[in-house]
């Protein structure tokens, strides 16, 4: 749908501007993803599809980490009684 739109615009005159924008955004993403940032030389150009692939993997791993943290937090809440938990919360809000 929108991917069809962007491929059509690539053929028209406005396409060159959006290609540059895309390259710019892809390089920004590249810097955010630790795997690509750490394992590759900065001067080496990584293919855009590789960046997208790694981005998807990174987002999935972040989601998993959030799930895992929520799990541990719920276990922790189960094991503490409500008074000390609230005290900890208040302390961290005020810190």
């Amino acid at each position: 749908m929108s991917s069809r739109r962007s491929s059509r615009s690539r053929q028209s005159g406005a396409a060159r501007i959006s290609d540059d924008q895309i390259a710019d955004l892809v390089s920004k993403l590249q810097q955010l993803i630790p795997e690509i940032r750490n394992s590759r030389r900065r001067s080496d150009k990584v293919s855009a599809s590789k960046v997208l692939q790694e981005t998807c993997n990174y987002i999935r791993s972040l989601h998993r980490e959030v799930d895992d943290l929520s799990d541990r937090l719920s276990e922790l809440l189960d094991s503490t009684d409500s008074d000390s938990a609230q005290a900890a919360i208040i302390r961290s809000l005020l810190m």
Binding site: M1, S2, S3, R4, R5, S6, S7, S18, D19, Q21, I22, L25, V26, K28, L29, L32, I33, A48, S49, L52, Q53, T55, C56, Y58, I59, R60, L62, H63, E65, V66, D67, L69, S70, D71, R72, L73, S74, L76, L77, D78, T80, S82, S84, A85, Q86, A87, A88, I89, R91, S92, L93, L94, M95
Partner: protein, 166 residues
């Protein structure tokens, strides 16, 4: 997490308060901790995991506010779900949502262009609200989404460490 007082960000002497990532961490932390406090009183232990995860997602979307498409998408979903729970129009909402998803997500399979469309579709599925936007927009939303996810993980880890040490 930087030790800033969440109520007076501008009066704190240290500069980290103006750092955008620490601002978002603070906003998220306050909302998430409020949600956790409420949760402690009335949620049965079996629902805690789901409630905490949903609270993390909602707190982050609320901390970012409506200025990003992905946070708007999450806030819309939450509002729609709350309405849905109140009105109990389960079958109607479900049909609408599945129709919208199938229209946007699985486009025609194409030959590999400069950017593979399969990865783009995957990315659209991962970023909230990603299905309705152009490719450029998708990339910039993704970058912001990743930054916020990282902030979320940092804050939750800090809270966990704080809890387990006290």
């Amino acid at each position: 997490m930087t030790t800033t007082h969440p109520k007076n960000p501008t009066t704190h002497p240290k500069n980290p308060t103006t750092n955008p990532s620490s601002v978002i961490r603070t906003r998220f932390a306050v909302r998430f901790l409020h949600a956790m406090k409420k949760l402690n009183k009335k949620t049965p232990p079996s629902r805690r995991y789901h409630t905490i995860r949903a609270a993390a997602c909602a707190s982050m979307a609320s901390a970012v506010g409506p200025r990003r498409a992905w946070s708007r998408a999450i806030l819309r979903k939450i509002r729609a779900r709350t309405l849905h729970d109140h009105l109990i129009h389960k079958s109607r909402n479900h049909r609408l949502i599945t129709r919208r998803k199938s229209a946007g997500l699985r486009g025609n399979p194409r030959d590999q262009e400069e950017v593979g469309f399969r990865q783009e579709d995957d990315l659209r599925g991962l970023v909230p609200g990603g299905e309705g936007m152009g490719f450029c927009r998708l990339l910039s939303e993704t970058a912001h989404y990743i930054k916020c996810l990282r902030a979320q993980v940092q804050v939750m880890t800090n809270i966990l460490d704080h809890y387990s040490s006290s």
